[in-house]
């Protein structure tokens, strides 16, 4: 019974497939939300299509469903692969998969009934939060025991990030969801916001970011067949990330009545974030130096490369918008929604997709059904996302500057209409990209040409590990 669940790498594959499916589902809900903001009478007064209920489905499904699921799928493939072993238990991996995806599924099935928690990113109901914790804890057990049974002594940097992401999230998640108070999953009073935004910020910073960086460290050296530029920079980047990222959740509530010292820590920390970001990017880009065309020519490599560029943009925008004088205009506006999309889709999502297209053949033992479809998806997503960024940033500046000169929120609404319409339209490209991707995954599994077993084993990992010996 359940033989498929003990097949090597089947858990990783399950995560990747689920991620691709959530990508399509989650973005469709994004469209439902976007259409409401474009034309509020389009499906008015229908409880299960109400904006306040659809938005959290979109956000949670793309964040936990698409991006995080795909990233975890890649991690549970590359960790054992880099350690020349197998995942400690495929069945336990499937158990994590089940818990995780049941929680994600609760979004579209429970939120439409007006049952949700409403603190951003903590909307899932309590039982599903428990499932997420179970998934995280079982993944930790699985990876730790995989490491314990490793045949390769050195831990490559991608492994650090995968383990880090999980052990930190195991702390961030219960704190942010106030899991010791199941009645409300919140603390009374203003202090709740501090916990919430410590969490909200670290969900992207200590879960998505390290998992994505881990993939970049894996894919880029392999595609370019170049040794990692510097071991020392990897170390600096890793420790600086956890030391800095954790301190800056307060920049989401900078203008709320939180203590002043916390504001200062937050703003200074946000600017300091430039350090871990640039160290990592420098390390990655110097690794691929002189081999850019090779990277660009590889469909998966292209995704990861573009993801690192989005990372740069996100992390230039991030410190900028943590400055109080900038936030006076940008906070509360669509500018932040622009940041969220280039961050979660551009940076973490692009790298997750690059990782998936790179690893899917290794995981399922078949060549990609179509590299051209991967490139098509890349084009669709890039076009949609660049458009999103432009449109939302513009809309945000219009809102922010109008408010700052004394206009009310209502008066500015008509000027936003064209941007809301453009956003919905551009969303169609992203959704098309998700559909193309899902099709490609399914066709790969059903019709992809089998890979030579040799290609699966020894060859692929040497290039990446070569980095261990350089400085």
């Amino acid at each position: 019974m359940l033989k498929f669940a003990s097949k090597p790498q089947s858990a990783a594959l399950a995560f990747l497939v689920a991620g691709s499916a959530w990508f399509l589902i989650g973005t469709l809900y994004g469209l439902v939300a976007a259409l409401h903001l474009m034309a509020p009478e389009l499906y008015n007064n229908i409880s299960w299509l109400n904006f306040g209920r659809m938005r959290p489905i979109h956000v949670n499904t793309v964040l936990f469903g698409f991006v995080a699921t795909t990233l975890v799928g890649c991690a549970i493939y590359y960790v054992p692969a880099l350690l020349r072993t197998r995942l400690w238990s495929e069945r336990l991996g499937w158990f994590s998969w089940l818990c995780w995806n049941a929680a994600v599924l609760s979004g579209p099935t429970v939120f439409p009934f007006g049952l949700q928690q409403n603190r951003e990113y903590t909307e899932y109901l309590y039982p599903f939060k428990v499932l997420i914790m179970l998934a995280i804890l079982t993944l930790i057990v699985n990876l730790t025991l995989t490491i314990a049974g490793r045949k390769e002594k050195t831990l490559y940097v991608s492994v650090w990030y995968a383990v880090g992401a999980l052990i930190w999230t195991a702390g961030v998640y219960p704190i942010g969801n106030v899991m010791w108070r199941p009645q409300t999953q919140a603390l009374p009073g203003l202090v709740d916001s501090i916990l919430l935004w410590f969490y909200g910020h670290n969900m992207v910073g200590l879960l998505l970011t390290p998992l994505a960086i881990g993939i970049a460290y894996f894919v880029l050296p392999r595609v370019t067949r170049a040794p990692l530029y510097s071991h020392r920079l990897s170390l600096v980047g890793f420790w600086a990330l956890v030391a800095t990222y954790t301190q800056i959740g307060g920049h989401h509530i900078l203008q709320a009545p939180i203590p002043n010292w916390l504001r200062t820590v937050t703003v200074v920390g946000s600017i300091m974030m430039i350090l871990p970001v640039f160290v990592v990017l420098a390390n990655l880009w110097l690794t691929t130096r002189g081999r850019g065309m090779k990277l660009w020519g590889d469909p998966a490599g292209r995704f990861v490369l573009a993801g690192t560029m989005w990372y740069l943009l996100v992390c230039l925008q991030g410190p900028l918008q943590s400055l109080p004088s900038v936030q006076a205009v940008t906070h509360f506006t669509n500018w932040v929604i622009g940041h969220s999309h280039i961050a979660v889709l551009g940076f973490a999502g692009f790298i997750a997709l690059g990782g998936m297209w790179h690893m899917l053949p290794l995981v399922c033992g078949r060549k990609l059904y179509s590299a051209r479809l991967v490139n098509l998806q890349f084009g669709l997503l890039l076009f949609g996302l660049v458009g999103f960024f432009a449109v939302l940033t513009t809309a945000g500046l219009i809102q922010g500057h109008a408010w700052a000169t004394g206009e009310t929120v209502y008066v500015v609404l008509p000027s936003l209409n064209v941007y809301m319409a453009l956003r919905a339209m551009l969303g169609l490209f992203i959704i098309a990209g998700a559909a193309v991707g899902l099709y490609n995954v399914v066709m790969t599994l059903r019709h992809g040409e089998p890979l030579e077993p040799a290609a699966l084993e020894a060859e692929p990992l040497d290039a990446a590990r070569a980095g261990e010996v350089s400085p």
Binding site: N45, W160, I167, I175, L190, D192, L235, A256, V409
Partner: protein, 331 residues
Amino acid sequence: MKMTPALLIIGGLLVFWSAVYVSVILPWETMPDDKSAAWMKWTPDEAAGHDLYIRNGCSYCHSQFVRAVDWADAGAGRLAERGDYYEQEPAILGTERVGPDLSQEGGEHSDDWQRAHFINPRNTRPMSLMPSWEFLGDEKIRQLTAYVRSLGGKTAAYRVARQDKWHAAATAAWKLGVDKNVDWLHEQVPAVWRPMPNPYPATEAALQRGEKTYQTFCIGCHGPMGDGQGPAMHYLEPPPLNFTVLRRHLVDGKYIGGIFYYQVMNGITGTGMPYFKRELESEKIWDVSNYIEVRFLGYTDATLSPQGIPAAYEPAWENTFKPPSATGESK
């Protein structure tokens, strides 16, 4: 430095948990948990409304704190304080303003306005992006309204009491009949504003601007014909004013501009009629007054005397309108 499993896991956890100490535990321990002067305990209805607010995701569009830089929307001027959120669980501050901040919403509008608005926000706010909540049913809309009344604590309670007081007075006046109601309304307008003409010429361009303002702000209540038959009328008591009856209520047989300006600027607290002084600057109010006068009264008092030195930009324009007779017939 070589990364070993022990260093990775123990080191990673150490750095992480010390950060938790600084960013979470320290503020949690040191932030006083006290009430602000404005804080008030929720009634069961208000708490039920807060629950609905949470479960329906109102906070994705509404924030609940006023900042120093806020200027125009409700509550501007009273900065949020830590103690405003005492005992609220969860206190949802919000990160986006698709709609306005609600932390000081209590008493901004009459309860019937809130109900008309919840049933369909386009009733009272034609360009609104807020979803309709009619599907929640009457009882839940009542709870939401109770919650919204409470927003702002004691500062709101003061405004709410004012709404309730004038609501009683306005409803009583409305029950006396259409004309007595208008008399009552005009008695409330300070005497200096009453015999005052609209100082701006009612040029075609001005009327077009006025029409735009009317459609963006007024049409849901006063209706496309100015007869008070907008979709909100089913929910408002007193109902939106039918402008055409004002033909027989001109001050001294000719003035109405000053009353319009005052009423639009200030609103009629206690009724659905909101104040617009934050959204419409003076020219827009005069323009929409001219629009209402010309379109729905068939008459305007624009540029009648007393008039000062005309503004520099005013074009040559002559008022050829004749006041209607006291019975409301055009002369």
